[in-house]
Amino acid sequence: MSSTTASTAVFAHLLGNPWLRFAARRLGQLLVSVWVLVTGAFLMIHLIPGDPVRAALGNTAPVELVEARREALGLNNPLWQQYADYLRHLFSGDFGTSMLSGMPVSQVIGDRLPATAELAVLAFALAVVVSIPLGLAMAVLTRGGRRRPVELAFTSGSVLLAVVPEFLVAVGLVYVFSVELGWAPVAMRQGASSYVLPVLALSLGPASVLARIVRVETLAVLQAEYIRTARAKRLPDRRVYLRHALPNALTATITVGGLLLGGMVAGTVLAENVFAWPGLGSTIVSSILAKDYPVVQAVVLVYGLGVLLVNLVVDVALALLDPRSTIRES
Amino acid sequence: MSELAFEDVTVRFGNGRRAMTAVDGVSLTVPSGAVVGLVGESGSGKSTLARAAVGLTPVSGGRILLDGRPLRPRGRRPLQMVFQDPYSSLDPRMTIGSSIAEAIPRGAVPGAAGRRDEVARLLELVDLPADRAGCYPAELSGGQRQRVALARALAGRPDVVIADEITSALDVSIQGTVLNLVRDLHRSLRLSMLFITHDLAVVRYVSDYIAVMYLGRIVEYGPAESVLQDPQHPYTRELLAAARRPGRSAPADLDTAPAQVADAEPADPHHPPSGCRFHPRCPAGPLVHADRAVCRDAAPTGDGRRNRAACHFADRAADRADTPPPGGPPGDPRS
């Protein structure tokens, strides 16, 4: 009796800590998202009109083979049982077998994931490292209607880069640097130089959008009254921008631009196809075309998890930067 | 005209650890044809009470009666409300004529021509030319918009009008126009009215009765003269001392409260204090008089007291805060 009251007290005390409350809330949110993702991936196969096995094996395949494959995949079981099996297999790391190659899907993923992850992480880092100083500098230079030509050049340049999708940037880069100048290899993943173009192609768009957001948010922050307070304290400009404006502009940027970084995970699909990059992106496309559903299912799952992970990182960064966000119950 | 009565009304928001009781067992009557002024600081729950009356916020407990009959839980009520911000209370995409016409109850006036005439009549009632019906809100000044909002409220043929801080968003030179209009309308139409504001001087000017609200509870209620001339609750006295009055004040007169009271943190509505909710800031409470622990333990009721003042020590004139404050004037901040 006393132990339960003690543990309730401890529990109540823990709940009183805003960071733990934030962690609990965010973890719950993550679990729900993962569940939705897993269920979505499971249902994806079952929503395909007609028989996926027949579709995969083609119309000429003998009935016995189709039936045997259906049995092996458990497609003849009731739906709830298939769902339960699917979840159980996932927990033990079993993603099924490729219909095409007969290899375990987990092995396909294991082979392909590192190439994609490298690309995504490098592009992510480049986008962040370029966009924040650029956006801040542009905001400071063009605040209050100063230097109109600079503003025009920056905004039109960033709009253009933002509109052009990564695969077209990739094509353009290939044309200029590989075909015309011959500086970089056209495709494949061989040596450090082969990373340059894919990473650039993937990060240019998001970097320009992010830089634009940083600029807009910084301009908004520079209008804020606490910046006027900082100026009233007669702090040097550098301190006003870096200590007072930037942290606030970043929280706003992360709130607006967080989804963009998640989008880069999916952007790898197109970039990989241009550069024949041996990652998950080329795998998913060939698998969709070949109707190799277990592989598709697993790759979608991995991409989805990647996105959720990026979103988690973004939220944690936001919580660290903005003391109000842990208190603010979403 | 009708009598609006709140009976033990409670409004709660949220649940779990975020729960908040914005209005806590409020009983208040707006007598037929009278203006009741409701004063209180921000967060006291006065606007929530208004929104509950017109059905914008669900009531968690108690009843709201009109002439003794409970109001319909949903649908049109014979109550209308005028809001604080005239820039937000009119649809920018609608002419003011159609905004007013929308509030006319179905079947009240026959035909489109009838509605047009009714809109013109209402505009003239609030001293706006009838040909303004085709204007959009953007073409009007703040004061004019607030008069349109009043006309819209009157279009609903209300039994009671609730005015929520209708002058606080207006420029000083415009406030007088709107207050004069409220007084004139009240006199000519004998409207029952609940007039909400944070400004005791404004309330004094328009109200027959005054109710003072603090942290979700009514702490004093009575005829305007009585509440202003002989305030019973320490919070009312504090409001009165802060209200605008002509003349210059010495620094010491600006803040006569004892230091421990002046430096008290305002209460958090999410975690209201126990007992009397005013006790952590009260100059007649346990902060100043150590022997008054009852304020911490028991919530006072106004029953049987003058102006229904919800204070344990309301009737002890000797304990008023206007006895010399023990804390003295604020000390030298540079020391």
Partner: protein
């Protein structure tokens, strides 16, 4: 400005016009190209397979010898058509999901919102790929795939926008009037969010055009023998070494079309977005007004001397020649309505006007130093330690992500050369001086953990980090509750009394100024119209505006049986100051002379200054009575 005029305005901007022309060209091409060149695009020429670009085939030929340039032109229709179809589907689904919370009520609505929030977290391309698996590769599968992929984002936008509109008072008023949910949505919510939604749908169309090209490029979109830009691009990429044009031409087509949609959207967004009011350009400016008189009494003791101060933003001059002197320990209040220029005067004195604002003055001396001519580098220390500012809204005046103690300590580190530790100790000491309970603990807290009154005390404490000689308080109590207002005013008074600090108090509330100031400056339309001792305010005010201000707001002594004094008309527009007395259109005493000639601020020999041709005259008695009401309201009704 009507919405039609604003949309027309979009076309007049260079970007808007170019984008509209581009979009028109793309749409025209989509209609005409297959009719004009359909034959040439499908013409197989086995003799000329995979030719590079030449005069005959501008973009070369494909593996069946077909002309790629014409194929790109003809592909416009398929590409645009499919993109628009997908957008229409996405917008429709998004609208349904986005308005559902409004129609379904809070409970079901929360469920829909949560579902949309989860879907939004996943990138559109991933959703499109997943849907492509379900619907199968091909145009008929890609349209719903892309449509459903853009739906969550659109739903979320609709949700946020409609929630904002639904939270506004006019929707509450409609609900009180008994208007049903569906009618509220149709009449009040949708018309108010239609423009941003349209802008976003335009951009979404550009986005789905690009997404479609992506899917086709991957081989998941349009299937042979059909073709769109993405497919042509994918085919061209294989031979990029032999014939770069085969990849570049469809690429350029995609970019141009995508850009057309997006730029039209951007330009429209600028036009319909929140607009900052820009002052109307007027030829005649303040220059020819009467010179502001000089107040030279007792300048030896002066903390602040201001002569002929002007603040302008472009062609608008909200402060038109203000002059006053503040002596040591003196408290001067500036009262006026919004737009009278009182806050700008305070900011200009504090040297806090930012570009594009410009400050000019004949004289602006602080503690004997000429602020307009001191080199900027010499100024920070003087202003940072001797001039304290208190702003109106303590909620927004502190940096939300920095601890209160640090924000105070910064001043000592910067100007007094203190190290981190001593600076923080001084900050705690100053917080104690402004009577913040538990100062050491509170110094470690963030601004949002303070109440409004405590935050304003901390703001005053920040000013005390140096050795202030002047406190400029801009509406310091307006955002606070009445009982807290008094405490803050008392604190300011105590700080002043302790060290003979001068104070410039800006307020719209003549009562507050009367209570705590020695002298009152009344501002109207960028000028001081009256300057008098606070003690003479009730009996000695000579300007009709000052008198009206005193009577317009009730106080505890107002006669309840008399109507309040009314100032007819609107406050003067700073963008268009009249040639004569700015108050003349609202003044009961005004005559022709007032309308033509601007009165100068003259010494009245009684210790005050007044700018009025009829200073001290009383209005005719009939105007004081009830008749003022009708006259006044007609005046305001223009």
């Amino acid at each position: 400005m009507t919405s039609r005029a604003r949309w027309a305005g979009v076309l007049r901007t260079p970007v808007g016009a170019a984008a509209a022309v581009l979009l028109g060209a793309v749409l025209l091409l989509a209609v005409l190209a297959p009719l004009l060149w359909g034959g040439r695009a499908d013409e197989v020429d086995t003799a000329r397979i995979l030719q590079p670009a030449s005069a005959q085939h501008w973009a070369g030929t494909d593996n069946l010898g077909r002309d790629i340039f014409f194929r790109v032109l003809v592909a416009t229709r398929t590409s645009v058509q499919l993109a628009l179809l997908a957008t229409a589907l996405g917008v429709a689904v998004g609208l349904l999901l986005g308005t559902a919370p409004l129609l379904l009520g809070p409970r079901l609505g929360r469920l829909v919102t949560a579902a949309v929030n989860i879907a939004v977290a996943f990138p559109g391309l991933l959703l499109a790929l997943s849907f492509a698996v379900i619907f199968g590769a091909g145009a008929s599968g890609a349209v719903p795939a892309i449509g459903l992929a853009i739906a969550p984002g659109f739903a979320r936008l609709t949700q946020t926008l409609s929630a904002t509109v639904a939270g506004r008072d006019f929707v509450a008023a409609a609900r009180i009037a008994g208007v049903g949910r569906f009618r509220v949505l149709l009449r009040h919510v949708l018309p108010n969010i239609a423009e941003p939604l349209l802008v976003n749908a335009t951009m979404a169309a550009g986005g789905s055009l690009l997404a479609f090209a992506g899917l086709s490029f991957l081989g998941l979109g349009v299937q042979a023998p059909g073709y769109d830009w993405g497919r042509l691009l994918g085919e061209g990429l294989n031979g990029i070494y032999l014939n770069p044009a085969a990849a570049l031409v469809p690429g350029v087509a995609v970019v141009l079309a995508g850009l057309a949609f997006n730029l039209v959207g951007e330009a429209a967004a600028k036009a319909v977005g929140p607009r900052t009011p820009t002052g109307t350009v007027r030829g005649d400016s303040f220059e020819d007004g009467p010179p502001a008189p000089v107040d030279r009494t007792g300048q030896s003791e002066a903390v602040l001397v201001v002569e002929d101060l002007k603040v302008s933003f472009g062609t608008v001059t909200p402060v038109r020649g203000v002059g006053f002197t503040l002596r040591r320990g003196e408290a001067v209040g500036i009262v006026g309505e919004s737009g009278s220029g009182k806050s700008l005067t305070a900011l200009a004195v504090a040297q806090l006007i930012e570009q594009p604002g410009r400050v000019a003055a004949r004289r602006l001396d602080f503690l004997g130093d000429d602020l307009l001519r001191t080199p900027p580098r010499a100024r920070p220390r003087l202003l940072g330690t001797s001039l304290a500012m208190v702003f109106q809204d303590p909620t927004t005046s502190f940096n939300p992500v920095q601890r209160i103690g640090r924000q105070l300590a910064e001043v000592a580190e910067q100007h007094l050369g203190d190290r981190r530790g001593p600076a923080l100790a001084r900050a705690v000491d100053r917080l104690r001086a402004v009577r913040i309970p538990g100062a050491a603990r509170r110094a470690r807290q963030f601004p949002h953990e303070f109440s409004g009154g405590m935050r304003q005390r901390a703001m005053i404490g920040m000013g005390l980090m140096g050795e202030p000689k002047l406190i400029i308080a801009d509406e310091p109590t307006t955002a606070l509750d009445v009982t807290v207002q008094r405490q803050v005013l008392a604190l300011l008074a105590a700080v002043r009394a302790a060290d003979d600090v001068a104070m410039l108090l800006i307020s719209h509330d003549i009562g507050v100024v009367e209570q705590v100031c020695d002298r009152v400056l009344v501002m109207y339309a960028g000028r001081i119209v009256e300057d008098l001792p606070a003690a003479q305010l009730r009996d000695g005010a000579r300007h009709p505006y000052t008198r009206a201000l005193l009577g317009a707001v009730p106080d505890l002594a107002t006669d309840r049986d008399q109507p309040l004094v009314v100032i007819p008309g609107r406050p003067a527009d700073p963008a268009a100051p009249p040639p004569g007395c700015a108050f003349a259109p609202r003044c009961p005493l005004a005559d022709d002379h007032c309308v033509r000639a601007d009165p100068a601020l003259l010494d009245d020999g009684l210790g005050g200054r007044v700018a009025c041709w009829h200073a001290g005259e009383l209005p005719e008695p009939v105007r004081a009575g009830a008749a003022v009401l009708s006259a006044a309201t007609e005046g305001e009704g223009r």
